[in-house]
């Protein structure tokens, strides 16, 4: 009873807050940039940072442990931030997200963008965990060896699929070695195949400082892949091979070529990054030391920020509301973007005969689509302006552009989906009634559906009678915020479609893992997320084909598969995006997946000046260039800086 009351209170609070946040209409509340000249905005922004002393130490935190620093084999996203600051790639984004030289001084590609050549800086040395230069120089061979390392199955590279399929010959090299290891191939020796790497795989050191990648397909997005994938980073091969399994298990067993090196590492407790004295771009390092400590609890990190013990704190929706009216209200800043999308996964091949009949019906899926009030769902995460995290598409807006600067989500028919308001309970009911006409007899019996017991163990087990209402088993974790979201789903769906037609059951399963719930299809509906990893829709969409790894619910969509095939074989990038947009629209408009909000979570407080770091859209935060103030940034300062930045970025992008 208390839980239901709490849920209702949170829901009521979220809805009322959302309702109160109409766009400001009075002149005094308008965007500061709207009424000012660009020069005024730039001057105002300049005044905020002009003449100020900036801190040289930045204190921040991480919430879950750093399992290992091995940037090739570690699945955990947390390691990415450390690596992003310690190992440089060939290129990096500047503060506007435009790619600029990093370890590569220059680059070029052939006309169809299947061959990319990078000229590496000369005379750069790898450093160790004390910052001392080692005997090893950063050369083109280190990038070749990076691919050599991940191409060997024994090294267990993580998330290899995209790179393996893209770099010419890597797929065959990897699987030949694997077949030898498994005994499938017996007439070839492992060492012979390893020795043939340079001939077999499309990456080579043209000379000491020139590396060339030959790709299977045209990849206009290749630079964004370099930003996002740790597999494209260099390695000193002899050093890594000599260490074997010990490579990068801690800070002392790896080498660094980035802006920082890990000078201290206490597992599950603290990490210290120190500025690399031999860095190629050391003039642009503005923080000497970055101190991380592990703080798993959000309340603790918030309290420590208030006491000045750390320089950054994430603020979730509940905490945001509790800070309203306090001295910290003026320091709450909105998080900028998330390319990760939350969506509902539907089980097309599960054991629940009632749901199974209905989910394979297009009208029923549309009934589900139109029954969700996405704004209410969004207000659980973003109580102030829930509309900014609504998302109807799988790939995020602002993540992918064609060569003319057109956003991928503005390609038709994806654009129409992006702009559709799916909160239409009347339409949802109509679709449900149409589905019932097709699937049930006049007595409410589901045609061809037998009564029985559904075995979703270890999650749950329940009886179905083969009649309306359709029993739906929603499986989530026992996390309080997830339970609230599940209750919202239930309320919306049952209210829109009608409780006489739908019996939405929630299973809050404490042992929720992908292996216990999703993979064995022990659910009817659950929610998950997908992220646009680089500037091409293929990153997600090729995984969602009928036999794709991301097709957890086991749908069968030959029309979608055909469009993906066409996209992959398209002659131009624009044509490719068009086919991908049609494919994505097909999945979304037919309700095979139901995206509803982005994964963006609320607000933050910080001492750092926004937009002074590289704009890493696909990679992780880089601290090179970040300015740290001695006082927390205020909302007014943020808005001024934001307005100036938007003008500057637009200019930078148009000049690209």
């Amino acid at each position: 009873m208390k839980r239901i009351l709490a849920i209702l209170l949170v829901l009521a609070m979220a809805l009322s807050v959302a309702a109160c946040q109409e766009k400001p209409v009075t002149g005094e509340n308008q965007d500061p940039a709207a009424s000012q000249q660009p020069e005024d905005v730039a001057n105002a922004a300049q005044q905020i940072i002009e003449g100020k002393e900036f801190e040289r130490v930045y204190k921040t935190y991480f919430t879950s442990s750093y399992a290992s620093f091995n940037y090739y084999s570690t699945a955990y996203a947390t390691v990415r931030e450390i690596i992003a600051n310690c190992i440089d790639g060939l290129v990096e984004p500047n503060t506007y997200g435009v790619y600029v030289p990093s370890l590569a001084e220059s680059w070029k590609s052939n006309e169809d963008q299947t061959v990319w050549t990078f000229k590496i800086r000369e005379g750069l040395k790898w450093v160790d965990h004390t910052g001392a230069e080692t005997e090893y120089e950063v050369t083109a061979q280190d990038f070749v060896d990076g691919i050599r390392y991940i191409g060997d199955p024994l090294n267990g590279a993580y998330s290899l699929r995209v790179i393996r399929n893209l770099i010419s010959g890597l797929y065959d090299y990897y699987w030949t070695l694997d077949d030898i290891d498994s005994g499938t191939i017996t007439d070839q020796k492992r060492e012979d195949v390893v020795a043939s790497f340079d001939e077999m795989v499309g990456v080579k050191a043209v000379d000491e400082y020139t590396v060339e990648y030959t790709l299977e397909n045209s990849a206009p997005y290749f630079l964004s892949l370099i930003e996002s994938s740790m597999l494209m980073l260099p390695v000193e091969y002899d050093y890594a091979v000599a260490l074997g399994d010990d490579f990068a298990v801690d800070n002392e067993h790896m080498l660094y070529c980035g802006a920082y090196y890990v000078s201290a590492f206490e597992r599950d407790k603290a990490i210290t990054l120190t500025a690399n004295p031999n860095y190629w771009d050391k003039e642009n390092i503005t923080i000497d030391t970055i101190e991380y400590q592990m703080i798993p609890d959000g309340t603790t990190s918030l309290e420590m920020f208030k006491r000045g013990e750390i320089d950054y704190a994430s603020v979730e929706a509940e905490a945001y509301l509790s800070l309203q009216g306090t001295e910290w209200e003026d320091n709450l800043l909105p998080t900028s973007h998330s390319f990760s999308t939350n969506y509902l996964w539907l089980d097309f091949a599960g054991e629940n005969p009632e749901f199974n009949k209905f989910i394979n019906n297009e009208n029923f899926r549309k009934a589900l689509m139109y029954s969700l009030n996405r704004e209410s769902l969004a207000s659980l995460r973003e109580p102030v302006d829930p509309s900014r995290i609504l998302r109807n598409t799988i790939n995020a807006e602002g993540a992918i552009y064609d060569s003319n600067g057109v956003d991928y989500t503005d390609y038709s028919p994806l654009k129409e989906i992006k702009e559709t308001d799916y909160n239409q309970p009347e339409l949802a009911k109509q679709y449900m009634e149409a589905a019932i006409k097709e699937l049930c007899d006049e007595n409410g019996n589901i045609i061809g559906c037998e009564a029985g017991t559904v075995d979703y163990l270890p999650v749950c087990s329940f009886d179905v009678d083969g009649k309306l209402p359709v029993t739906i088993c929603y499986v989530g974790t026992d996390d309080e915020s997830e339970i609230i979201m599940a209750q919202l789903f239930k309320a919306m769906i049952e209210e829109s479609i009608g409780a006489e037609y739908i019996d939405f059951q929630i299973q809050a399963y404490s042992g929720w893992t992908y292996g216990t719930v999703a993979d064995p299809l022990n659910y009817d509906i659950y929610f998950d997320s997908l992220s646009t990893g680089y500037a091409d829709p293929s990153g997600i969409l090729t995984r969602m084909t009928t036999d794709g790894a991301e097709n957890v619910g086991k749908y069968d969509v030959p029309e979608y598969d055909a469009l993906i095939e066409k996209a992959l074989n398209a002659a131009t990038f624009e044509e490719r995006l068009q086919y991908f947009a049609e494919a994505e629209a097909y999945l979304c408009s037919n309700g095979f997946v139901i995206p509803f909000i982005s994964s963006l979570r609320g607000y933050y407080m910080s001492y750092s000046v926004p937009y002074t770091s590289p704009l890493t859209l696909y990679g992780n935060t880089k601290y090179k260039g970040t300015l740290v103030m001695s006082e927390p940034l205020t909302k007014a300062e943020f808005e001024t800086l934001d307005a100036a930045y938007e003008i500057e970025r637009a200019e930078a992008l148009s000049a690209k």
Binding site: A67, A75, P153, D246, R267, D297, T513, A549, E550
Partner: protein, 312 residues
């Protein structure tokens, strides 16, 4: 006595082997998908996953895997973590984490014993008066209120009032104070509760009444008889605290960001880190049997009525 120790050691050894082999084999019944975190499952295809498992030796017959583990164990190699801390040697992990948890465990155990027994004595001394009520109130609060509430209160507010760090930092001695107190809160209540109960029981026994009637001073009866007899049932549990000392507290280590062993076994089981689970289970099983064994020896040492030999 020597024969008894030998027999108990042999029994303990058999117990450890049974526990270890059972857990080892049960772990091999877990689904193969459990070896991969969610993001990895979604990112990799079936063939790549099988390749990874084969290269890790996880597709070998369980008996072969057991043989390999035992052979490595005898060479002092505990193996490497599979999923929680990929490729990190388990001996390194335990060497990093156990000393920290043990230091907190010992400190809190000592604090728990000293304050718990003192509170218990206070409650008996002032039975049904202010001291007893104070102690009962404390015990009630600690045992009845969900610990997260008061632990969180202590971390946020007490740290503010006393100007103490909110999280542990090995270089700041004062950062030990709150976690040690939090860890000891439960055992203080436990020792106080049971000492009071056992002492009240002893006080009502005939031999105590007889001693008092004979004119022995109350203080002497208390010290030599009541307290000594009441403490015996508590002593038996002391060695079994060994396991608590090593295994740590998930909640408190998480709250104060202590990089110890708290929650390590749970995390390893959830992540299906077979190598880590089997080493921790082996370690805990050995500590448990040692703890029980030592408890028996200790109680025999402090209570002359108890003999562990055959003739007893």
């Amino acid at each position: 006595m020597g024969k008894y120790i030998l027999k108990r050691t042999l029994n303990s050894l058999i117990t450890v082997v049974i526990v270890f082999v059972s857990v080892f084999m049960l772990l091999r019944l877990m689904p193969l998908s459990g070896y991969f975190p969610q993001e990895m499952l979604k990112e990799t295809d079936e063939a790549t996953r099988m390749s990874y498992l084969r290269n890790q030796g996880l597709l070998d017959h369980p008996v072969v895997q057991l043989g390999r583990f035992v052979a490595n164990l005898f060479q002092g190699d505990l193996g490497r973590s599979l999923t929680v801390y990929p490729k990190v040697p388990i001996s390194t992990l335990l060497a990093e984490k156990i000393p920290i948890t043990a230091a907190f465990g010992f400190s809190s155990m000592l604090l728990g014993i000293v304050l718990g027994l003192s509170l218990g004595l206070l409650m008996v001394r002032f039975k049904d008066r202010w001291g007893d009520r104070l102690g009962t109130g404390y015990i009630l609060i600690v045992r009845a209120i969900p610990n997260l509430i008061y632990l969180f209160f202590i971390q946020v507010w007490v740290s503010l009032w006393l100007d103490l760090p909110m999280v542990f930092d090995k270089d700041i001695p004062s950062s030990w104070i709150l976690p040690v107190i939090c860890l000891a809160l439960g055992s203080i209540a436990w020792y106080a509760l049971w000492l009071r109960r056992f002492m009240v029981d002893e006080e009502n026994r005939d031999y105590v009444k007889f001693a008092l009637v004979k004119g022995l001073p109350k203080k002497q009866v208390w010290k030599r008889h009541v307290f000594k007899n009441a403490i015996i049932p508590l002593v038996i549990y002391l060695p079994s605290d060994l396991l608590f000392i090593i295994s740590g507290s998930l909640v408190i280590e998480s709250l104060y960001s202590i990089p110890g062993t708290g929650g390590l076994l749970t995390t390893a089981i959830k992540s299906q880190d077979n190598n880590l689970v089997q080493v921790i289970v082996l370690m805990y099983a050995i500590l448990s049997v040692i703890g029980v064994f030592l408890g028996d020896l200790l109680v025999a040492a402090v209570d002359p009525r108890i003999k562990l030999t055959e003739e007893a």
